[in-house]
């Protein structure tokens, strides 16, 4: 298992110390869950949700009472600029 690859996919930073411990723990956990391979699941439909609800719609109209103001939306951002979120650079 390439733990740094998984960490990258999950957008997480794992340092060298954590790498060893996590590799150990994750390997053990994955060995544990691999027991599922022994269950016969031929012709079994997967379950994605248990309510049985389908196609729950709402009317396509604007509900002012549900809209947050720009100030509210920006209120927890560390960096804002002229009413925008400031996003870290994606160029590596």
């Amino acid at each position: 298992m390439d733990i740094q690859h998984i960490a990258k996919l999950a957008n997480l930073l794992i340092d060298a110390d954590q790498e060893k411990l996590f590799t150990l723990q994750l390997t053990a956990i994955l060995a544990f869950v691999s027991k599922l391979q022994s269950v016969s699941t031929e012709n079994v439909e997967p379950t994605a949700q248990v309510t049985g609800l389908v196609n729950v719609y709402r009317a396509d109209v604007v509900d002012q009472s549900r809209i947050l103001t720009q100030a509210q939306v920006l209120s927890n951002a560390k960096k804002t600029h002229n009413g925008y979120f400031v996003v870290p650079s994606v160029w590596t």
């Binding site: 298992m1 733990i3 998984i6 960490a7 996919l9 999950a10 957008n11 997480l12 930073l13 794992i14 954590q18 996590f22 723990q25 994750l26 053990a28 956990i29 994955l30 544990f32 869950v33 691999s34 027991k35 599922l36 391979q37 269950v39 699941t41 079994v44 439909e45 997967p46 379950t47 994605a48 949700q49 248990v50 309510t51 609800l53 729950v56 709402r58 549900r66 947050l68 509210q72 939306v73 209120s75 927890n76 951002a77 560390k78 960096k79 979120f85 400031v86 996003v87 870290p88």
Partner: protein, 460 residues
């Protein structure tokens, strides 16, 4: 005022008869906060005392929860009040809106005392995975209170509030309820709105609560349950007046006991004994007890620990440190583990073997319960295989911690409701049993729980 024994029912009666006021009750709660919060690490945020007392003075006492002090698990978004999810990522997050359940409780007259400590993001069964230190068990502070709704349970047990909200994705209301001698409900998935509840696993999360008695629990459920247009997964099933349907006997009730649970290695035999005793009591109340089988019990944990981390990895992707919160480096070890397991299980080349297979096993586990409920009204099982364990005992071994959920997490896989009720003590530590029912059977669970509670009175 001895708030440790005061129930919501008695408080409302006391207000009505003018024996005491909401100000008296919230003052007593705040005194207990002052007395115990630091040592037991229960509440992460306490609201301004002056605001609380002011609310208590002005509250409309005719409301269903008028003047009743409550605590909210810190996964519940509260407008203007810090909400951390037990995590350093959100240690300064102040939401701009209330969760639907929070709004419903406020509209019903409840007074919010504060936000409860918990395993970060709900990732835990003991309370030890909080980024702010573990909450302690009120019966023995060297032991865990159960998790992830750890602070919620301890707040009620120590008289800081008369009820507390929690969430239950795999154990998290029922285990702390069992470890702290409380009644804890995990409702049917979709019974209570998840809008504004910081998401852990979106097809598992159930919004529940902890109280001292079954009546109190039924009352809160009347307030929180119901379809919410803001939550597309909430169901259109009508909400009965649960408090009006609490039974006193179990005549005509068939109880099933899953043989796989009682054959489980690692279960404390004294818990087995107490559970048997509870079943004898139920028979004495008129119930018929039969053996049933839940054949896929032995793969439930494996199924859970693929599906839930997968959904977790997706839900926690939004915490980017840009729009809210701190950076992703602030996530604790358990959360990182879960996100990585989930990412792996969903990744190209592994999705079929892990996630898809687990989804199929989920169908089989759900079917086990559906088949069982064709022959029984309710399933009774222990809530925990062990007594509340010592802080630190399991925290170095993630797998050992996961196995504490063996009796509780199959319920979440199937999306059905379960109620923990206290059933006695071993070595002065509380033990709880679960009443598990088919979807939408909360009414039945409350009724059976009430009859059992009346007969046993396990508060002390």
């Amino acid at each position: 005022m001895d708030i440790k024994d005061l129930t919501i029912q008695k408080a409302l009666e006391g207000y009505r008869k003018k024996q005491f006021s909401s100000v008296d009750v919230v003052t007593a709660c705040l005194e207990n906060v002052g007395r115990y919060n630091k040592e037991y690490n229960v509440l992460l945020t306490v609201r301004d005392e002056k605001d609380i007392i002011e609310e208590a003075k002005r509250v409309d006492s005719s409301l269903p929860l008028g003047g009743i002090p409550i605590v909210l698990k810190d996964l519940f978004t509260t407008d203007g009040v810090r909400t951390t999810a037990g995590s350093k990522v959100l240690d300064a997050y102040i939401p701009p809106y209330d969760a639907t359940v929070v709004r419903k409780l406020k509209d019903a007259g409840a007074i919010i005392i504060g936000k409860a400590n918990q395993d970060a993001w709900g990732h835990g069964s003991s309370g030890e995975n909080s980024d702010f230190g573990s909450t302690k068990n009120p019966f023995d502070p060297s032991r865990v209170p159960g998790g992830s709704s750890s602070g919620s349970a301890v707040a009620v047990a120590m008289g800081m509030a008369l009820a507390a909200t929690g969430t239950d994705t795999g154990s998290s209301v029922r285990l702390p309820a069992a470890f702290c001698n409380l009644v804890g409900l995990k409702p049917t998935y979709g019974r209570v709105s998840r809008y504004g509840i910081i998401a852990m696993a979106s097809s598992f999360d159930s919004v529940g609560h902890l109280t001292k008695t079954v009546y109190d629990n039924a009352l809160i459920c009347e307030i929180t349950a119901g379809k919410d247009p803001f939550d597309g997964t909430s169901a259109e099933v009508p909400v009965p007046k649960y408090t009006g349907k609490l039974g006193k006997t179990l005549k005509g009730v068939t109880v099933g006991i899953p043989k796989e649970y009682f054959e489980m290695k690692g279960m404390d035999p004294r818990i087995n004994d107490l559970t048997r005793k509870a079943l004898d009591t139920m028979q004495g109340l008129g119930a018929q007890v039969i053996d049933i089988s839940l054949p896929h019990t032995n793969v439930a944990m494996e199924c859970y620990y693929i599906l839930v981390p997968s959904e977790v990895s997706s839900n926690l992707a939004r915490f980017d440190g840009v729009r809210f919160g701190n950076g992703r480096d602030e996530f604790g070890a358990e959360s990182k583990r879960r996100m990585m397991i989930g990412t792996y299980a969903l990744s190209s080349g592994y999705y079929d073997a892990y996630y898809k297979t687990a989804s199929k096993v989920r169908t089989l586990i759900k079917k086990d319960f559906d088949d069982a409920f064709a022959t029984v009204d309710v399933i009774v099982a222990p809530s925990s295989p062990t007594l509340p364990f010592r802080i630190g005992e399991k925290s170095n071994d993630p797998l050992a911690m996961y196995l504490s959920d063996i009796f509780v997490c199959p319920v979440n896989i199937a999306g059905i409701p379960a109620l923990n009720v206290p059933c006695g003590f071993v070595d002065k530590l509380p033990v709880g049993i679960q009443l598990i029912g088919p979807q939408w059977s909360e009414e039945k669970l409350f009724s059976i729980g009430n009859a059992y509670e009346l007969r046993t009175n396990n508060r002390h």
